[in-house]
Symmetry: C2
Subunit: 349 residues, 2 copies
Amino acid sequence: MTDIMRLAPAEAERFTTAVLEKAGLRASDAATAARAIVEADLAGVDTHGIIRLPMYVAWLGDGRIDARAEIEVERTMPAVALLDGRGAMGHLCMTRAAEIAADAARTYGIGWVGLRNSNHAGAIGIYAARLAREGFISICGAVSAINQVAPWGGSEPLMGTNPIAFAVPGEEEAPVVFDMATTIASLGMIKKYAMEGRPMPEGWIVDREGRPMTDASRHAEGLLLPVGEHKGSGLALMIGLIAAVANGADFGRGLGEGGRPVSVGQFVLALDGRALAPGFREKVDEIVRDFGKSAPVAGGGPVRVPGVGRAEKEAERKVRGIPIGAALMHELALLADRSGVARPAYAAG
Amino acid sequence: MTDIMRLAPAEAERFTTAVLEKAGLRASDAATAARAIVEADLAGVDTHGIIRLPMYVAWLGDGRIDARAEIEVERTMPAVALLDGRGAMGHLCMTRAAEIAADAARTYGIGWVGLRNSNHAGAIGIYAARLAREGFISICGAVSAINQVAPWGGSEPLMGTNPIAFAVPGEEEAPVVFDMATTIASLGMIKKYAMEGRPMPEGWIVDREGRPMTDASRHAEGLLLPVGEHKGSGLALMIGLIAAVANGADFGRGLGEGGRPVSVGQFVLALDGRALAPGFREKVDEIVRDFGKSAPVAGGGPVRVPGVGRAEKEAERKVRGIPIGAALMHELALLADRSGVARPAYAAG
C-alpha cells in the first residue's frame, strides 16, 4: 500500500490535544485524553485510537460528552469506589478509575472501581496494560452505548459488543494483554471497514431475518454476532450486569431513547502483584517465551502470545510513527480545518 | 428415554458422603465435598456432579488427591489470600476460598483468594452462585490439570479447558450465573459422550493434523478447539496466568510429568453488593425478566438468561430427584460395591 503515511506519536498527541482543547476540554484534560487515545494507536489497536477523534469531537459538540464535567468519586467501602463521570470523556474517567483502583490495591491488595455516566474510553486494554506495567494484574470491562447484539436465541438488539480486557505483568517481558469484544468483530473494526469502503467477511453481522450482511456501511441495520454463540452472549450479559447495572449505568432495552445521553458503565480491577506468589512474574516470562517457541499449525507462522504483538508494534511505531491510511488522513484534515488547528504533519510511510 | 431413574438429592448426598468417607476423608469433609458435588447436579450441570465421583475416588486411591490434607491459608495483604490446598479435594479448597473471599469482601468491599495445590472442584459456577446467593458479585476461574488445548496458531497442547464463571445477585429472581469452558465443549461434556458411547459433533476436537475427530472415547489423542478461535485461546491463557501462575500453581508445558500430582490453580473474587449502586439487584431482576420476554429468533423458543435454567432445574430436581442414565447407574453400582457402601436407592424417572 503506497497511500500509508506515518504520524509521529508526539505529533499525534499534539494534534489530538489541540483538537480536544478547541472542543472545550481543559488543557490538562485534553492532554490526558490524547495520551490515552494515542496509546491505543501505539499498541496497534488502530480501530480504537485517533480514528475515533472525529466521533469524540461530534459528541463533545452535541452534548453527549461534557467537556467540562467534574468527575465524582465515592469510596463506598475501603477497597471499592463508584465513579460518576458526569458525562466526561471516557478516557478521563478510566484513567482516574485505574489510578484509584491501584491506590486501593497498594493498601488492601486489591481495588475495584465501578463507573457510571462515563463515555467511550477507546481500547480498554490500554488501562489494563498500564496497571500491569506498574505490577498489578488487571481486569477491565466496558458496556457499549449502542445495542447491536441480541441475547442468544433472541432477535432484539438488547446488548452491545461489551469488551473485557485482562493484563498480567511479566518481569522482563512485556505484560500479557488480552482485550476482546464479545462479538466476532468489534464495532471499531466494522467502522474501519466502512470508512475504507471494504466489504466485511460473512459471519460478522446478520440482518433481522438472520441473513448474512457484508456491506459495512449498513452495519447499523444489522445484528452483530456474539463470539462462540451462546458463550459470547453470556459474557456480554455478565459484563453488562457487572460493568453497568452494578454501578447504576445503562444496560438493556431503551439505551439512549429520547435523546438522553447513555450512562456508559465500566469497571477496573487492580490486584497487587505483591499479594501473589513470589516469582510469578518470572514464570509469566517463561510461559510467554515457551508458547512463542511452540510448534505452529502446519504451514502457519510462529505462535503469538497476546501482548507480544502490542509491544513489538509499540517499539516500531515509537520510531517510525503510526501508520495512517488515506481515508483517515482525509478525515483528520477535515477535522483540523473545522477545529481551526494545524493539520497533522506526516512522514512518508 | 425409559432408562432414566431419579436420585433424590438427600440420597445422592448420603451415597457420595459414604463413598468419600470410605476413600479416607474425614466425615465433615466428606459431607462438605458431597454437598458441592450434588449442587452441580441440582443446577443441571450433569457433566460435573456425581458423574465424576468414580474419578475422584480413583484419584484418592492413587494419591493425586490427599484425603487428609490440611489446607493452609496465608493472608498476604488485607483483602487477598493465597490458599495452599496441599492436595485436598478441590471442592474443599474452593468452598474454603469462597468463604475467605466473602469475609474479606464484607470488610473491604472486595476479596480475592488465589489457590494452588488444589484439585478439580466440579463446576466452578456453583461457588460463584453460592456467593451471589449471599449478595456478592463473584468471578471464579480454574485451570485444568490436563493440557488438551493449543495456543491459537499452535499445535502443541499447552493449556486446558480453563473455565471462568460469573454470578450476579438479583433481588427476587435467582442469581444470574454463567459458567463457561474456554473450549467449544468442556471435557466433562466430552467424557459424558464417551461414557454413553455417542459420537461427538464435528468441531469439538481435531487430531494433531487438524482433522475433525468424533469418537469421544479417543478424545485424549486430540486437541480441543477453543471457543471463538483466538478469543477462547486468549481467555484460556489469561485464566492460566491469573488462576495458576499468579498463585504458584501449574500451567503450561510438562503438566503432571513424572507422575507428580498437578498443582491445580483457581481463583475466587467476591465483591460486596453493598459497595455497589443502590437498587442494582432490582435492576438485575428487570433485565432477567425483560430479556426472557424478548422476541426469539424465527421458529425458536423463548430467550433464556443464564441462571434461569439452573434455578428451574434445581426446583424440579429437588422434588423429582436428579436424573441418572443407565451408564452412570452402572458406574455408581460398581463404585458402591467396590467401596462397600449401599448402592444408591432410585425412584422411577
